[in-house]
Structures are given as structure tokens and as C-alpha cells.
Amino acid sequence: MNGILWLELVVGIIVSFSLLGIFIWGARQGQFDDGKKMMNGLLNDSPEDLQDAVKKDEKVKMMKEKKAKEMEKEKSK
């Protein structure tokens, strides 16, 4: 009986600390810096907003690649 309880304790602690770890990762990324925006995102974000976020990421990646190439060109000159 007590052996099972010890096991439950270990599993419970691993699960809860894993969740805490995810929270800490989010907080370090700045996801909770703006409390009001975060709460609104939770309540109102739609699939359309998620699609926009993906498009935005692609645009950022493209712009950064383009800029890096331009900077390389300038350096080689």
C-alpha cells in the first residue's frame, strides 16, 4: 500500500514539475509579460489568428534571409 503511495508521489511530482517547467519556459519567452493581452488571447484567439501567426513567422523568416543575403553582398563588395 505505502509502496504505491510512494510511486504516486514520485509520478505526481514529476508531472507537476514538468507542467511548472512548461510555464517557466512560457514566462521566459515573454508570453506573460502583458497580462491583459494574454487573458484576451486565451478568451478570443481563433483559428484565423493562429493562421495569421504562422504566416507572420514565415514572413519574418523570409525577410531575415533576404536581409542576411543583402548584408553578405555588401560585405563582399
Partner: protein
């Protein structure tokens, strides 16, 4: 008269003044700006903005069409634009006009879809934005134009070291507090099992598992979340001071050590739950303080973003744009309509009127002619003028106010917090008693372990849970009650100071009066219906507060007014407005040679013949007299301050029953006056609404802003009366006094509890079960007592 909502801003207006678009459903707009933005969003497929906006309202757009070329100037770029390691440009902006989440969504969406913009991030809490863009694809002025085209505006701000430090500090505390709350919640759940075990029975091994789980959760709380207290205690000791941090860390560490002893060897009851609770409770309080400091920094950034960036000076007959710090005394400065004066000076050519509300609080523009003084920060509201600088920027009025405000916000008067003071002495006494108990038992029976356990049990039973709860629980109930009455206390600690105040300083315009002009006399019965319509159309052509008041008066007294298209409408600086209709000259305003009227007047002339004269006055609030008489009956000294002249101030004071008043006060005079009162050991509350009151508000022990006041006044205030009613002050006093009475009762309960239980613990008679029960009982007593606060007429 029917009221309709503007289809863009959702503000409500009289149907007659709306711009209508007959379609299904019918569209109504309050101004051309709203109409333009509505169609722009519709055409770009962004009309889901209105679904996201819900019931919120926004301000009608005002910045559309403003010149944004100064954002591309070299001096601007050097000061505000930074380059990222990837080679992009970056700027920090403060957004104007953000009201709800939909506003953030719209701005981010529009800018994200603009080619050349890499990243846009707008903070909803403080309205600060970060924009990263590629300046080879798009110019900053185009980005600003884009923001303005959808009805918002943006100002640059210098991201200071203090802002970076405050942001990092807030993030650090947020992380520590989150971990503390997470662990405490888990410990509370485990605690349910533990305390149930006391009654139902629990074997040794199972108790050890429960203690082990508590130990795992309490350890990060003490050493990570509680690290700030160890650090504070270390610096306190370095300066030879026993501070609150020392007592929190010492109490928590001793309890932790005792609990470790129980877990790994000894028998008995562990107190890991107390360790986590003490740290979490105090840390939440500290986090609120950190947020307060961060919002002070945000307020200063908002104020600084309003300072003009450059000024146009006249050199050798030509114009030159120079940064503010390059302006020298005797330089000739040109100020166009809508621009802000950058430094103090004297008019040398031109005739105009200036909005001096940031200095005097008065909403009426003041006329300026040759020889008159110009104050920095005031806005030119009509024609171009030139003036000679008499001070450089560093010594000008605006910079003085900004610097003083910065000092005040950084050193807000320290409020005597009874509970903090009490718990400081309380903890010193408890630590001394515990040490005495240890020594006594050790010398009495020579058993070190027994002496240590009894000493620690003294500390544990005296765990200031009830003391820690005494103030927050009562304050929470008081503050939520106040919020329901439309009064927002930014921090609960102001309840105590507010209930102890003996002097209140009231600003006149916008606080005792409504700040809006209304017609008190003027005949329209002798006017023909055509002349009446001409007068209405003329008053409707101006946004000057006097014209607005006359228009409102006409609308209230006449049913069938018709709008007539006037020609050649021209604003006359400092006198009024003129126009033509079928070769008839119409004039509305003040005829120059009229000196018999002391108050504000509006005269209506046709072909130079005076037809009627309106007399206007600022309206006193309905509840002003009643509130002031209540304050006086409570023994509070009421003083009224104003930037207005003595004649007007004394008249208002007499009408509302105020015996003491001060007139012609500048923002700095008001702040100095508050300082003098505080030097006389008075507890001063200041109530105001304007930018000109901000400095005085920041100097008072507690400051109140009216809900319709300027953003800056609201930002620096401790209390905001959201419904803009003066009797909010009366309600605040009543509720604060009642709440403070209960705080004192709670403190008494917790002290009596300790006075009874500590001697028992010192005698070594406390078993863990009794300690746990008595701790809970004392907390319950305090919570139960606090719920009685609302048991009265006003509360029900």
C-alpha cells in the same frame, strides 16, 4: 431627440448631428474621421474589428492627415531609432487611442500586413509598442501614417535604463511569485490529507510520505521564491538594521529546519505548509509594490512622449528646425496652429490663442498678443506667431514640471503602515521570547533538543498568519465595496491614510465644477427664425468650448433648428468666428470694445449690429455643496486651489461653502502648497483632474483623480472616482473609516490570540494538533470578523 451610436467609435450622439449613410443597416458617423476609418477597414476586409470590439467604445480619430515627415529626420533617427543585429531598424513607441483588445488586434494586423514591417508588438497593459522594420522597403513616416489612417496615433519614447530595470524586476518577481503560488497550492491540497489524518488516524509511514511531498514543494518556495527576503535581510544587517525581510526569512528558515528535523528523525508535526504560506503571502504583497513602481516608470514615459521634439527657429530671415536642447535664450521661435511651444518666451509678432490647460487647468484658450508670455508645453490653437525665448529648454516650465514629477513619482511619500510597524515589533518580541524560552529550558533541564523544539514551537504557534491576514482580508472587502461604488483604490494601503486625513485640497475646474461651460443668461426670443438658424450654424462651425456651449444651449431651448451652409468661415484669433451668408456678415464671439462683462461672453452680430449676448459660466457639480459640507462636519479642513483669477475662485468657493481658497496657482505653486501642508504634519488628500494638477497629486499623501480627467492625472493618482461624481469622496471616507475600524479589531483579535497561546507554548504544553487547530481558528476569527464590514445600510 433620439440618441444613436456612431458606427465606428460606438459613442452616442444626438441623431441630428450625425452623418448618415442610408443603406441597410443604416450607418451613422459622428465625424468624417470615423466615416473614413470605417470604410477603410471595410474595404480592407478588417471589419471583424467591430465584432472584436463588442460593447467597448473608442475615441474618434483626430490625427488623420497630420504631417509625419519629422519621423524621417536625421535628428529624430539618431535619438529614437536603433539598429538590430540583423540590420533592421527598431523603435519604441507609445500608442494613443488604445481602448480595448480589438484596438491592439487592429493595429497589429494592419502593420503585420504592411510590406517591410518585420515585427509589431503592442503591450495592452501600458500601450507601449515595439516595431522592427526594413528601412529599405518602408519609411518610419509611412508606418506612422498607416497607424494614423486607422484612427490611432503614436509617439516615440526613449527606453530608459529605469524602464529596462523595472521590466526585468517585474519579470523576476512574477516568476518567483508564480512558483510560490504553484507550490503553495499543491501543499494546501496535501494539507487536506494531512489534517484529515489527525482525526481519522494515519500511520507513521503515510505521514512521512505526506511530509516528504510537502518538503519537495516547500524547498523551492523558501530558497528560490524567498531568496528576495534573504537578500533584503543581508543588506539590512549590513546596515545594522533588523528589517521585515530578516524576520520573514528567519521565521521561515527556523520553521523549515524544525520541519526537516521532524521529517528525517524526530517525531511530531512538520510545518512546511507554514513556510510556503508565509513566503507566498509576503511575496504577493511585494509583487504588487513592484507593479506600482513599473507603472510609475510607464507614466513618466507617457509624459515625456508628449514633449515636442524640435522647434522652428528663425535664423537670418530663414527657418531652421533644431532639437530642443539647441534652443538658446533670445532665439526667435515660430509656432504654427496645433504645435506646442517648446520653451518659455514672449510674443514678438502675431496674434493667436493658446490652450494653457496643461499649466492652468482652464479649458478655454487664452489670447496672446505682442508682449504676452508663452509657456512651454502650451498649444497654439489658431494663427502662426513668433516669440522670443526667455529661457532655454532645461529651465522652461514644461521641463521643470517633468523633472519634479519624476522626482515625486520616485519618492512617493511613505505611508505609515500600522500592520507593518506592528509586525516588525511583534516579530522582534517573538524572536526574543523564543530565544529566552530556549535559554530558560536549556539551563532548567540541560536538554538541548527539547529546549530547541519548545523555542521553535513558540515561533510556529506565533506564526503571524492572523496578523498577516488582519489587514489584507479587511482591505480586500473594503476595496471591492469601493469598486462597486465606482471608486478605484489602486492599492489597499491607501485605506488607512485616507481614513486618517485631516486636510483635503480640491482643484476647482473639473473637480468642484464640471469644467464645462454652460449659458447662464442670453435671450433668443427676439431673434427671427432665420437669424436663429444662422447663429446655430455659426456656433456649430467651431470646436471652441464657448461655441459648443452656445450650440448646446440652442438645441436645448429650440426644437426646429436648421443647419445653413455658411461661406468664408474664419476663426479670429482670441475673439471669435466670422462667416458670410448671401453677402450678410455674421460674427459670433467677443466684440473687442465690450468691457462691462467680467465672465465669458458670446455675442452674435449680423452686419456689425449686436443682436444678442450670452453669458457663460463653468457649472458647479450638483453634489459639490453637499460633499463639502459633509467633509467639514467630519472635521476635515477643505481648501480649494485654482489657476484661475481670484474673482472667479472666490465666487465658486462662496457658492459651495469653502472658506479657504487659493487663486492664480501654477502647477508648481500647488505642489509647494501641498508640501507646506505636509510639513505642518497634516495628512493631505488632493483631488484634481487636469495635467496641471499632476504634480500636486503626486506630492499628496493620497491623491484622487476624477474619472473624466487627463490620463496623466489618473496615472499619478492613488484613487480614481470612475463615475466622476464628487460624492465619491464622501463614500470613500465612510468606507475607508469603517474598513480601518475592522482592521484594528482584527489586529486586536490576533494579538489577544497570541497573548493566550504563546505562554502555553513557552511552558512546553503545545502539542502539534493544538498548534494546528489554534492557528486555523485565529485565521477564521479574523476572516469572519472582516465579513461584517458590509453589514450596514450603504453596504447592503
Amino acid at each position: 431627440m433620439s440618441i444613436v451610436k456612431c458606427s465606428h467609435c460606438h459613442l452616442e450622439f444626438d441623431e441630428k448631428v450625425m452623418i448618415k449613410e442610408p443603406q441597410s443597416p443604416e450607418l451613422n458617423f459622428c465625424c468624417n474621421g470615423c466615416q473614413g476609418v470605417y470604410h477603410l477597414l471595410k474595404d480592407d476586409g478588417l471589419d471583424s474589428f467591430y465584432d472584436k470590439m463588442g460593447k467597448n467604445t473608442i475615441s474618434p480619430p483626430t490625427a488623420i492627415g497630420q504631417d509625419s515627415s519629422n519621423f524621417d529626420m536625421e535628428s529624430f533617427a539618431q535619438r529614437y531609432i536603433k539598429t538590430t543585429p540583423d540590420g533592421f531598424s527598431k523603435i519604441d513607441l507609445i500608442m494613443e487611442g488604445i481602448h480595448c483588445a480589438a484596438c491592439i488586434w487592429l493595429n497589429e494586423k494592419v502593420l503585420d500586413e504592411t510590406p517591410g514591417i518585420l515585427e509589431v508588438s503592442i503591450n495592452f497593459t501600458n500601450n507601449k509598442a515595439k516595431i522592427i522594420w526594413d528601412d529599405e522597403t518602408i519609411q518610419l513616416s509611412q508606418i506612422i501614417d498607416k497607424i494614423r489612417s486607422i484612427g490611432y496615433n503614436a509617439y516615440p519614447y526613449d527606453r530608459t535604463q529605469s524602464d529596462k530595470k523595472a521590466t526585468a524586476n517585474k519579470k523576476d518577481y512574477f516568476m518567483r511569485m508564480s512558483i510560490a503560488i504553484f507550490a503553495s497550492m499543491n501543499i494546501m491540497m496535501i494539507g487536506v490529507a494531512k489534517y484529515t489524518g489527525f482525526f481519522m488516524g494515519m500511520d507513521e509511514e503515510m505521514l512521512r510520505i505526506v511530509h516528504m511531498a510537502e518538503f519537495i514543494f516547500a524547498t523551492p518556495v523558501l530558497f528560490y521564491s524567498g531568496w528576495v527576503f534573504f537578500r533584503g535581510a543581508y543588506y539590512g544587517l549590513k546596515n545594522k538594521m533588523i528589517n521585515m525581510d530578516f524576520l520573514v526569512s528567519a521565521g521561515a528558515t527556523l520553521t523549515y529546519i524544525y520541519s526537516l528535523y521532524v521529517l528525517f528523525g524526530g517525531a511530531g508535526h512538520s510545518y512546511f505548509d507554514s513556510v510556503a504560506m508565509i513566503i507566498t503571502f509576503v511575496l504577493v504583497g511585494k509583487y504588487l509594490e513592484v507593479i506600482g513602481k513599473k507603472s510609475a516608470v510607464d507614466t513618466m514615459d507617457k509624459i515625456k512622449s508628449q514633449i515636442p521634439l524640435e522647434a522652428t527657429i528663425i535664423v537670418d530671415g530663414g527657418k531652421k528646425v533644431v532639437p530642443l536642447d539647441k534652443i538658446q535664450v533670445d532665439d526667435i521661435i515660430e509656432v504654427k496652429n496645433g504645435e506646442k511651444a517648446s520653451v518659455d518666451g514672449v510674443v514678438i509678432s502675431g496674434d493667436s490663442s493658446f490652450d494653457e490647460s496643461s499649466i492652468s487647468g482652464e479649458s478655454l484658450p487664452v489670447s496672446k498678443k505682442i508682449g504676452d508670455k508663452i509657456y512651454s508645453g502650451t498649444i497654439n490653437t489658431s494663427a502662426v506667431i513668433r516669440y522670443k525665448a526667455v529661457k532655454d529648454y532645461a529651465n522652461s516650465t514644461l521641463n521643470n514640471i517633468v523633472e519634479l514629477l519624476e522626482d515625486s513619482l520616485n519618492s512617493k511619500p511613505k505611508i505609515e503602515d500600522t500592520t507593518n510597524e506592528l509586525s516588525k515589533y511583534f516579530s522582534v518580541i517573538i524572536l526574543s521570547i523564543a530565544f529566552g524560552t530556549f535559554m530558560g529550558w536549556y539551563f532548567y533541564d540541560g536538554d538541548f533538543e527539547n529546549a530547541l523544539i519548545i523555542a521553535i514551537s513558540v515561533i510556529v504557534i506565533a506564526c503571524p498568519c492572523a496578523l498577516a491576514l488582519a489587514t489584507p482580508i479587511a482591505s480586500l472587502i473594503g476595496v471591492s465595496w469601493l469598486a462597486r461604488e465606482g471608486i478605484l483604490f489602486k492599492e489597499a494601503k491607501f485605506i488607512e491614510t485616507f481614513s486618517k486625513m485631516d486636510t483635503i485640497v480640491l482643484d476647482k475646474t473639473g473637480t468642484v465644477t464640471t469644467g464645462n461651460l454652460s449659458v447662464i443668461s442670453g435671450k433668443t426670443s427676439e431673434l427671427s427664425s432665420e437669424n436663429l438658424n444662422l447663429l446655430f450654424s455659426l456656433a456649430d462651425s467651431s470646436t471652441h468650448p464657448v461655441s459648443i456651449a452656445v450650440k448646446k444651449h440652442l438645441e436645448q431651448n429650440h426644437k426646429y433648428l436648421k443647419h445653413i451652409e455658411l461661406e468664408s468661415i474664419e476663426q479670429l484669433p482670441s475673439s471669435g468666428i466670422k462667416a458670410k451668408y448671401n453677402d450678410v456678415a455674421i460674427f459670433g464671439g467677443r466684440v473687442n470694445d465690450d468691457t462691462k462683462h467680467k465672465s465669458t461672453i458670446y455675442q452674435f452680430c449680423i452686419n456689425n449690429t449686436l443682436l444678442t449676448t450670452f453669458e457663460l459660466e463653468d457649472t458647479i457639480r450638483d453634489d459639490a455643496k453637499q460633499t463639502i459640507s459633509y467633509l467639514q462636519n467630519e472635521g476635515i479642513e477643505v481648501i480649494m486651489c485654482s489657476g484661475d483669477n481670484k474673482h472667479i475662485v472666490s465666487k465658486v468657493a462662496q457658492e459651495v461653502g469653502i472658506k479657504q481658497y487659493k487663486s492664480k496657482m501654477s502647477p508648481i505653486d500647488k505642489a509647494n502648497f501641498i508640501n507646506e501642508l505636509r510639513k505642518d504634519k497634516k495628512t493631505v488628500v488632493m483631488a484634481g483632474d487636469g495635467i496641471n494638477d499632476s504634480l500636486a497629486l503626486s506630492r499628496a499623501d493620497v491623491s484622487i483623480a476624477m474619472g473624466n480627467g487627463a490620463d496623466i492625472a489618473i496615472a499619478v493618482s492613488d484613487i480614481v472616482i470612475l463615475n466622476d461624481k464628487l460624492n465619491g469622496i464622501k463614500k470613500s471616507i465612510y468606507i475607508s473609516k469603517r474598513t480601518f475600524k475592522f482592521i484594528k479589531q482584527n489586529l486586536a483579535i490576533s494579538l489577544v490570540y497570541n497573548a493566550v497561546t504563546i505562554p502555553i507554548a513557552m511552558a512546553g504544553y503545545v502539542i502539534p494538533l493544538v498548534a494546528a487547530l489554534s492557528m486555523s481558528l485565529s485565521s477564521l476569527l479574523v476572516v469572519g470578523n472582516s465579513t461584517r464590514i458590509k453589514n450596514n445600510k450603504l453596504g447592503k
